[in-house]
């Protein structure tokens, strides 16, 4: 299984966003930490800037006011001018300082390096809101378990502060990585994208067998697990896909009490602009999921006695 593609050395933990007042990534009012770096890199990914384990330039040329500040030699040529047009040179390493240089925000840098203590300080700022609403911190991504040591340290610190933690994960990691996390009281938000190995491989960079065994492991060992299905046209939205996925979830040995909670996240194409700003082709463009399909999922979940929500 391909966990990630960076080569050796000590890598600094990277996050690309910290979003406060999130109300759809676990219970209550939450702060969500988006890690940068993901082993799966699904074609429909709505956060393409979350995939690579390195700083990346997002550049929106329509907002560029031509101040040329980003062309300064101190930035090592990460931005350059080609035929009068200022644009990223994606062969170059992106220096951290580039993030603060652009007055019009045409140029943004996805990713910043973080330290455990500083990140924890940042994410507990809304602790009072968590406490009153039953919320907490959600680690998402990218793939948070792709930076397991760092994540574990964060979780331990947050637990010591009494902050509830959730992890939103695709579980495309070695099972051994999961074990220490299962010792902690974590709300798991586990992706179930598909069960078909062939289908899985065509659109992601992962191996479904290990994902499935991890889903079983987490369901069996963790107290709080909810399942999330990104509903992707042409990938898993047919009736047979639906029955397969929901049937699988229904068949899991679960340690959690109460009804099985499934959250369906319908595909959207809001990320098209971000692909463009990253200078990458948008690998997946489809129409949105129809209401009829969603009704079908609701009905099927109902017949399996599951609680199904759409969009968190």
């Amino acid at each position: 299984m391909k966990v990630n593609d960076y080569s050796g050395g000590v890598r600094k933990p990277l996050v690309f966003d910290v979003q406060r007042y999130s109300t759809h990534d676990g219970p209550g009012i939450r702060t969500v930490v988006f890690f940068k770096g993901c082993p799966l890199r699904c074609d429909w990914c709505s956060n393409p800037e979350s995939q690579k384990v390195e700083l990346e330039i997002l550049f929106d040329s329509t907002r560029c006011v031509g101040c040329r500040a980003c062309l300064h030699p101190q930035f090592g040529g990460a931005m350059h001018e080609v035929e009068g047009k200022i644009q990223p040179d994606r062969t170059k390493t992106v220096p951290r300082a580039l993030a603060a240089v652009c007055p019009s925000l045409a140029l943004r840098v996805a990713g910043r390096e973080v330290e455990v203590d500083a990140l924890v300080r940042e994410v507990v700022k809304d602790q009072a809101f968590f406490a009153k609403s039953g919320g907490g911190v959600t680690f998402s991504g990218g793939e948070p378990l792709d930076q397991p040591e760092f994540l574990l340290q964060c979780i331990e610190k947050l637990e010591a502060l009494g902050v509830p933690v959730a992890i939103e994960t695709c579980l495309a990691v070695e099972s051994a990585v999961l074990l220490p996390f299962l010792e902690h009281n974590i709300q798991w938000l586990v992706d179930v994208k598909h069960l078909d190995p062939q289908r899985f491989l065509t659109r992601t960079a992962g191996d479904v067998a290990s994902v499935v065994s991890n889903v079983r492991l987490v369901s069996d060992k963790a107290d709080h697990v909810a399942y999330r299905v990104p509903l992707i046209p042409g990938f898993n939205d047919s009736d047979s896909d639906r029955d397969w996925i929901l049937g699988f979830i229904a068949s899991l040995e679960r340690r959690s009490l109460g009804p099985v909670c499934v959250d369906v996240l319908p595909y959207h194409d809001l990320a098209a602009g971000k692909y463009h700003q990253l200078g990458r082709p948008n690998p997946y463009t489809r129409d949105r999921i129809g209401q009829e399909t969603l009704e079908g999922w609701k009905k099927a979940a109902g017949s399996l006695a599951m609680t199904l929500t759409v969009g968190g």
Binding site: T23, K125, K132
Partner: protein
Amino acid sequence: MTERMQRAKDKMLSTKATICPERARIYTRVYRENEPLPVVRRRGLALKQTLAEMTLYIEPEDLVLGNTASRPKAAAIFPEYAIGWIEKEIDEIDQRTAEAYFATPEVKAELKAICHYWRGKTLQEHAHALLSPELEELHATKIIKAEGNMTSGDGHVAINLTKALDLGVAGYTSLVKAALASLDPTSFFDLKKRQLYLAMLDVLEGLTLYIQRYADLADAQAKAEMDPKRAAELALMAQVCAAIATKRPQSFREALQFSVFLQLVLQVESNGHSLSFGRLDQYLGRYYDDDLRTGAIDTETAKELLCSTWIKLTCVKKVRSSSHTRTSGGGPLYQNVTIGGVNREGHDATNALSSLILESVGEMKLTQPNLSVRYHSGMSPEFLARAVSVIEKGFGMPAFNNDEVVIPGMLRLGVSLEDARDYSAIGCIEVAVPGKWGYRTTGMSFLNFMRVLILTLRDGQDPASGKAFLPGTGSLTTFQDFRALMAAWTKQVQFYARASVAIDVAVDTALEDLVPDVLCSTFTDDCIGRGKHLKEGGAVYDWVSGLQVGIANLGNSLVALKKLVFEDGVIGRQELLDALANDFAGPQGEILRLRLLNNAPKFGNDDDEVDQLVVEAYAAFTDEIEKLHNTRYGRGPSGGGYYPGTSSISSNVPSGSEVGATPDGRHAGTPLAEGCSPSSGTDLLGPTAVFQSIGKLPAERIFGGILLNQKLSPKTLETPADKAKLAAMIRTFFDDLKGWHVQYNIVSRETLLAAKKDPEKYRDLVVRVAGYSAFFRDLAPDTQDDIIARTEHTL
């Protein structure tokens, strides 16, 4: 809402605002006929005579009676305050872009003739005569604006309705007569008191006349009414009025009707706005409970009476000069009703009537009353959920005030614990102990912080007027470091703090000399006991605040100067001054503007650096204003001081139009941030971060109120879980962050844009402006744009 109330609402919405000359006519006549009498007597007689003569009417849908002018939505004229703007604007008053009033040529001609008598006699002229030439010059720059207070009464007050209901007119008459009997005719002070007491007896008599006239009118209409159901209602109203014309009310109906009469008559006496009910659920609650128990009334009937009351209140109009109209967008009267909170013993005060008031206001969706809910940590989840479900309706109500900061803040001022617990909102977000506090707990005088900051960068010279009132504090090109700039800011803002109080002293003296309110003083403690009207120091407590405009812009500008000019040096000092002077002209100017806008932190994102600068810069003003006294200091009331306030109503728009470009990247002439809310479009981390930033301000010192408007997308309140999250957020803001106030606009941007385009289709669309709600179509176009631009939080 009943079908009848819907009809009444539709009728009210389609009624055009007009001008009614009756009050002006009667006041002018009585003043003329009684020129030898002291002012206070003339005012007493003028009010009494007006109440005896003015046109009374009953609308077919009315269940609660009363009016302030001859027709619904007619504005009375108050020539004794100011005539300059009337003479200048009356001919065009039906053509104004915001808040037009219709008047026939005859009415216009009559008013002009009336104005003739008042030349040289008005409050405005007298106030100007009391200003020193330097202050007059300073006031002309509009860095400080006090026009609202020179052209109308103080307002911002609530009378003691609890006591009024206990005593009735007769009880008060006895009190005044007893006081009168105890005077010493050889005393100068008692001579003055005697004039006030005589005037009080006149207005009490006038009040009885007015109520009795309504009893007679309802009785006559009942007899002529063909529909037996309506005839019975009219007969009942006649009975209610007759019962309370002198005696104290005995039932919910009577108590509500008496409260409404007082509310309306006080607005015939003075045009000072923000005349508030205080804690309506508290003083009417026991009548309601008793009547429910005995079966004298049922919930539905009581609710319809409340709805009828809200329509009555919305029919009251105040016509302002066109410039003052821009500051008070949408023609608000800010008649506040406060519910909830703790009682005088500290327990949850919410009762059955609190819920009924909340529900009835939520159903009517009008601009009046301005409903405030007093939050306290012991508020039941059910009541908070009810409040949230009214918020969800999207007309900006209720607003919340927070017992957890207001009560300790009042104790800090020296208010007694029981009185502190009994506070109510006045007008928008400001607070006072109803019936015991003087006028203008906040309001009517505006200091433009951004004008002061700009002149701080230019050695005291105000670029708009070219004047320098306090030169020699250094300029941006000479400050050694950022601390030197802050030191200059402190000197300048403290100078303008003193100047604002100096103007207040002149205006307050003119108000005291020329337009004392006899009725309002009668019903406010302890005017009768002291023999002083409110402006002489009759109130038990008397603190005031002006309003400071541009709070977020101030912090954003200072942090941009600190970071980009002083620390990083990416913007040159002269370069910045030039760019501000030419409003960021040219491509280089735009780059510089974007840098200021995007490369420095902004207030409202829980960023300590900028938030602390707001705190520090504001403290410089607060330190000074807290040392200063109002004209009642040492004359009776507890207090007599000042505190700051941020309830800048819609003045952020006209104030912005008078400020050039600012170092927060704001273009010249565009609106400033409203109240204490973040600048439009700069709070990027959502509402919790906004709450955190606001929570850093010292709410116990900024006692005129910290106004926060939040706009939420309707999508954020779709499910019960969403609503629970909003309730949790409000609780956290108040319990943990000690916020002062919050209110919500839950109208989508699309709806607002559509309403701007097609006002007729959206004539009932009510939006939160700043501390109050207004009909969107009544707002000036630039205020409409400002509301559309405020950041909408969504997910």
